[in-house]
């Protein structure tokens, strides 16, 4: 399924933040987790995740730290901050409103 670009972009922030709530992670693992969660329906261009992560870092929603990975190379790990959690909660409410509204109208269409 081809997702609309705008929708992918809009969902990126809550998705990344929600995945980081599960635990600290790094770019490649986040993308794998997204694919896993969406059953492969949400396909990001891999590189595009990094500008998103850097923007979140600048906004203070996530914090980053370079540390050694299991293979010996340095890897940049991201951690959600308190502001990030607050932002995620706010976004969650917004998405629920959208989701609820759409659900309402589509249920009506089904029963009508």
């Amino acid at each position: 399924m081809d997702m609309a670009k705008d929708l992918v972009a809009a969902s990126a922030t809550p998705l990344v933040l929600a995945i980081l709530v599960e635990g600290d992670s790094y770019g490649y693992a986040i993308i794998k987790r997204v694919a896993e969660l969406s059953g492969g329906h949400l396909q990001w261009t891999d590189g595009m995740l990094y500008p998103v992560l850097h923007r979140l870092e600048r906004q203070g929603l996530v914090a980053a730290k370079w540390s050694a990975s299991e293979t010996g190379r340095r890897r940049k790990y991201y951690r959600i901050t308190k502001e990030g959690r607050t932002q995620l909660a706010a976004q969650r409410q917004q998405w629920q409103v959208v989701d609820g509204t759409l659900r309402g109208i589509w249920m009506q269409a089904c029963t009508a």
Binding site: Y26, Y28, G47, M48, P51, H54, R75, K76
Partner: protein, 456 residues
């Protein structure tokens, strides 16, 4: 993130990293992060059974196009392009150390230039007193050796190269000072004007190192000179603001800051700014679009219109050109400006592309400049007997001739190019080959004119 046993795969990764590094939007740590991702992806793909080559293609495809990626990075880090202007490199970049050293050396040389201009004051020569001509004659001698030293260091030219360049610089210092110039004489003023032009060629030799005849080294130097001029004007504007505030602040407590400005701020600032400006041009290379070609595009049509308007008015009214003292020099400057417009348009042009509207505009500009100059020369030739030969007039006439020859041949090459008979590259070659002519003429003015005209 493993290192792959597959050598060709490692090479491909290295090449990909190089592509990223060439983009200004990525910094060292971004590249490391993206490379880590690529390696993770490659590991997963090879474990899934793909061969090295295939795995690499898939992984790079998934990473997305570099254009789109660098655009997104630039958007997420819009401050970077500006920061690079001054800082030079990323904090996490491995070349930081080199950039830092360069900044220290450049600032050190700038301070040295500012101090060098104050050395004669130790021997009682004051810049705002009767010794002003001394300072004007030696302006290039104070600063340009230090600029040359900067490029010798930067290009790693070595001791032998440095000595060869020191020779003409020393000769410049000698010729600026051995002649018994008459006070307020023309020859002294001519030396002050022409010596920097000659010494600028030495700076150029240091700048290009051994690329003078190859790889567009001379064109790079032309580009550098134009950018430096623009930076210098910008720094000077800042300097004026500084001076205005200095005056205002000290005036508010009833003190006159004239000596501070005249003896320290202006001379030291003017000297140091040459080095700082050069360093900025070097540091920001390729980060933003060069300014000189942009200005050229802007002003070529305007100057063409001006010259055509002047010519048609001349023909319409038939009023004779008033050949006064300053007129010849004014027309020299006009020709020099037209040559500069041609050179800087050429410096930014891809010599492969066919002639377009702008090229015809340039041809028109060159031809109208030639026509204007022809009229002026005719007017002067008609009255030359009344003038007699003064050093000023001979120098100005010589320069006029040099520029006229350049522009005439330029017009010929341009016309051939516009009619698809010749290549643009030949025009570019002509312009850079002509560069030493200016320096040689300036050297003749400095060395031969004072004795020939009796130091008057």
């Amino acid at each position: 993130m493993t290192t792959f046993a597959d050598q060709s795969l490692e090479q491909q990764i290295a090449r990909w990293r190089e592509y990223l590094r060439r983009r200004q939007a990525f910094h060292g740590s971004d590249i490391e992060e993206l490379e880590g991702h690529l390696r993770d992806q490659l590991t997963a793909l090879t474990e899934a059974g793909l061969a090295g080559e295939e795995a690499f293609l898939v992984a790079v495809r998934r990473m997305g196009s570099l254009d789109a990626l660098s655009r997104e990075f630039a958007r997420a880090h819009s401050e970077r392009l500006w920061k690079q202007l001054v800082i030079g490199h990323d904090a996490a970049d491995e070349s930081t150390q080199a950039g830092h050293t360069e900044m220290l050396i450049a600032l050190g040389l700038a301070v040295a230039a500012a101090l060098a201009i104050k050395v004669p004051a130790l021997f009682g020569l004051q810049i705002d007193g009767g010794d002003q001509p001394f300072y004007l004659r030696n302006a290039g001698v104070f600063v340009l050796p230090l600029l040359t030293a900067y490029f010798i260091w930067k290009r790693g030219s070595g001791v032998a190269g440095a000595l060869w360049l020191a020779l003409p610089l020393a000769a410049g210092a000698v010729f600026a000072n051995i002649y018994p110039f008459r006070a307020n004489g023309d020859t002294e003023r001519l030396t002050a004007l022409h010596l920097p032009i000659t010494l600028w060629l030495v700076v150029g030799l240091a700048y290009v190192r051994n690329r003078w005849f190859t790889d567009g080294g001379r064109m790079d130097f032309v580009r550098f000179s134009g950018e430096l001029a623009i930076y210098y004007v910008l720094i000077a504007l800042g300097g004026f603001v500084l001076i205005a505030f200095t005056v205002m602040l000290f005036a508010s407590i009833g003190m006159k800051a004239d000596w501070l400005i005249g003896r320290w701020l202006v001379p030291c600032g003017a000297a140091g700014a040459v080095i700082v400006g050069s360093w900025l041009v070097e540091a920001k290379q390729s980060v933003i679009e060069n300014m000189a070609p942009v200005l050229t595009r802007l002003f070529t049509p305007l100057f063409t219109v001006l010259l055509l308007a002047f010519l048609s008015t001349l023909v319409w009214t038939g009023s004779p050109i008033n050949v006064e003292r300053q007129v010849l020099i004014g027309f020299d400057l006009l020709l020099a400006l037209v040559v500069a417009l041609v050179i800087y348009a050429a410096s930014a042009r891809d010599s492969q592309t066919p002639p377009d509207f702008f090229d015809r505009m340039q041809l028109l500009l060159v031809v109208s400049a030639l026509a204007v100059d022809g009229v002026v020369l005719a007017a002067i030739a008609a009255r030359i007997s009344e003038f007699g030969f003064t050093p000023n007039r001979v120098a100005a006439l010589g320069e006029n001739l040099i520029l006229l020859v350049n522009l005439a041949w330029t017009a010929w090459l341009y016309a051939r190019f516009a009619r698809h008979r010749g290549s643009f590259a030949s025009l570019e070659r002509w312009q850079v080959a002509y560069l030493p002519v200016y320096a040689v003429w300036a050297a003749i003015v400095v060395i031969a004119f004072p004795p020939v005209f009796g130091y008057r």
